[in-house]
């Protein structure tokens, strides 16, 4: 059952550049959607729009719909939005050290949301905070609840931030690169925790990441973004196993192979374009080996792959799977 459906979301900056351009996504209950893309591809921006918390001034949502349980949150007033934030959609961030208030105890930060959305008493909220810390795997939660963020390690801080989000019992958790700042072993633990929470609570998760390895381990479905536009969506197996878009293919080939490889890293040639200089046509065409004249002039629409019920890509040559697009370099 669809929990959140974003259609044709467009976000512009002050100059009128569409940093997010016509993006459509959906997340079901209990599903983990991986939102993949390079820095600046608009994935964080798109998710902030779902909470109507766009970072920076001058950014505006220009069009589209964000339907949460069928109701368009873009029509909500600020008061209604405050009831959505935390309660319906929770968010955790890349850098837990800076997203936790350094002078407030972990327990109070967890309790705040509980008190705000559930009207819990100080005491109830504290008990609940201890219980949540236990759930996210903090040892000795009854005494840790009174610690400050700097007394936690990096991985524990991320767990604490997850507990802060869970306190309001959201249906959807947006996890913005939650493991990027963590050690590899701790990364695994946090991803396990997210999957475990999905299984136990039926939580839907949007996992923003640039790491396909994380996606492969954790997600059910994948959406790939490039330069503000969606390139490809589909089930994890389809997208990773039979990518339709040259960019997705490039990302997959960029992953360092686990057998050590021959010492050469495969990369996608060139740089992603700056927002002010998005090329006409397909935004990926200057870096794409299979680009044609059509790619340079006509923007490709998302098309569902024949035979696959939800695997779609925005590429003129999606059907003709070619492998010439990638340039093998250093």
């Amino acid at each position: 059952m669809t929990l959140l459906r974003v259609s044709d979301l467009t976000i512009q900056d002050r100059l009128g550049t569409a940093l997010v351009d016509g993006v459509s996504l959906s997340v079901d209950r209990g599903e983990i959607l991986g939102l993949v893309g390079e820095s600046g591809s608009g994935k964080t921006l798109a998710c902030r729009a779902m909470m109507r918390l766009l970072p920076g001034e001058g950014l505006t949502i220009r069009g589209g719909e964000i339907r949460l349980n069928g109701a368009d949150v873009l029509t909500y007033g600020e008061k209604q939005m405050m009831a959505v934030r935390g309660r319906e959609i929770g968010m955790i961030f890349q850098n837990p050290a800076s997203h936790l208030n350094p002078v407030m105890t972990i327990g109070r930060q967890i309790a705040e949301g509980r008190r705000r959305h559930f009207g819990a008493s100080r005491r109830e909220a504290r008990q609940h905070a201890i219980e949540l810390l236990r759930q996210v795997g903090i040892p000795d939660p009854a005494s840790r609840v009174d610690n400050y963020p700097h007394e936690f390690s990096g991985g524990m801080r991320q767990r604490a931030m997850i507990a802060v989000a869970l306190a309001c019992e959201p249906k959807l958790l947006i996890a913005d690169e939650p493991t990027t700042a963590l050690d590899v072993t701790v990364q695994m633990q946090v991803l396990h925790l997210l999957r475990d929470l999905r299984d136990r609570l039926g939580l839907a998760v949007i996992l923003i990441t640039h790491d396909l390895g994380v996606v492969a381990q954790t997600c059910d479905r994948i959406a790939v973004m490039y330069a503000g536009r969606l390139c490809e969506t589909g089930g994890k197996r389809e997208v990773l196993g039979a990518p339709l878009h040259p960019y997705t293919r490039g990302l997959i080939e960029c992953q360092p192979s686990s057998d050590g490889g021959a010492g050469r890293m495969i990369t996608i040639q060139g740089q992603p374009p700056l927002a002010q200089r998005f090329p006409a046509g397909c935004r990926f065409h200057p870096r794409c080996g299979s680009a044609t004249a059509e790619c340079a002039s006509v923007q490709p629409e998302m098309r569902v792959e024949p035979g696959a019920d939800s695997h779609a890509a925005a590429c003129h040559h999606a059907a003709s799977v070619v492998n010439r697009g990638m340039v093998h370099g250093h």
Partner: protein
């Protein structure tokens, strides 16, 4: 509680500071031209009479011996007899310290009561008319000298409006409060200008922080975020600025007590300097130094209480 342990050893660390100040004051006060005995006895005094007074107060001893006596007396809880008042300086200070304490405390309280709402308004309505007005007023406030502001305040509230007495210090509490209000206001206006600007900048910086975004993402109200998250973080640097300014303010009481004729330590100090009353000058300056040091210790305590990351 180990974070507060510095309170125990900090006073011992400050002993060298106080020693240095005592030496400095001792030497400086004796370097001012003029002889206390001559000033006490007047221009027509005989050399014999002057010599007798000098001997009576130990002023004919070598400087190092005088300092030795000074320290020895201090350790016995005495500061030496005032030449003018003929009582021990400590007793003199005891009788004059109350108005100064209330002047300083009242000024700081009033300054905080002015600065916190103004800085809050400016930060929350950043770039709007309220912000510009508050910044303009505080810039003007920074430029006004205390003695001039004091006189203007007297002219307005005392001479024209008759709301407050021109000068002096009352005999009961209500009267004292009434008398101290204008001097406190004068100091507070200048002090609040500094505090407002600092706190506003601090608030704006904290508002940019990630934890504010995270708090919004939890659905907390802007009011809650501002007072529970942003304000405590912003107060940490402002408290240290306040401590520095209180130190400066303690010296500033000299001017304010003179303008408003308040019988406090500042006024005592001015009179003592004019009459070269060495013991009193030394005593008062030492008390001022001690107070400044104590205020800074208090600020450190507050910082440690507000910021769990700080270890001293």
């Amino acid at each position: 509680m180990h974070r507060y342990r510095f309170v125990l050893w900090r006073p011992f660390q400050l002993l060298p500071v106080l020693f240095g100040i005592s030496v400095l004051v001792f030497v400086m006060v004796r370097s001012i031209p003029g002889d206390p005995a001559r000033i006490l006895l007047g221009v027509r005094s005989t050399p014999q009479a002057i010599a007798r007074i000098r001997a009576q107060y130990g002023l004919d001893e070598p400087l190092w011996l005088q300092y030795f006596y000074f320290v020895r007396n201090l350790l016995q809880g005495e500061m030496g007899k005032s030449i003018i008042y003929r009582v021990d300086t400590l007793k003199l200070i005891d009788s004059r310290i109350q108005p100064t304490i209330f002047l300083v405390l009242g000024s700081v309280l009033l300054a905080v009561l002015i600065a916190v709402p103004l800085a809050t308004g400016a930060a929350r309505y950043r770039g709007r008319l309220a912000d510009h007005a508050i910044r303009l007023i505080s810039t003007i406030g920074l430029g006004l000298p205390a003695f001039w502001l004091g006189i203007m305040v007297i002219l307005l509230f005392s001479i024209s409006l008759h709301w407050f007495p021109v000068s002096g210090y009352g005999s009961d509490w209500a009267e004292r409060l009434h008398h101290l209000f204008l001097p406190c206001l004068t100091v507070a206006l200048a002090l609040s200008a500094v505090l407002t600007r600092n706190l506003r900048a601090s608030l704006l910086m904290e508002l940019q922080n990630d934890y504010v975004t995270a708090a919004r993402a939890r659905g907390l109200s802007e009011n809650h975020i501002f007072w529970r998250h942003v304000m405590p973080n912003s107060l940490i640097p402002t408290i240290n600025l306040l401590a520095v300014n209180i130190g400066w303010l303690i010296g500033g009481t000299v001017v304010i007590e003179s303008v408003f004729a308040i019988p406090g330590l500042g006024q005592l100090l001015v009179k003592a300097i004019i009459s070269r009353d060495y013991m009193v000058v030394q005593g008062v300056v030492l008390v001022f130094a001690l107070a400044t040091v104590a205020v800074n210790l208090l600020a450190d305590l507050l910082t440690v209480a507000l910021d769990p990351r700080v270890k001293l």
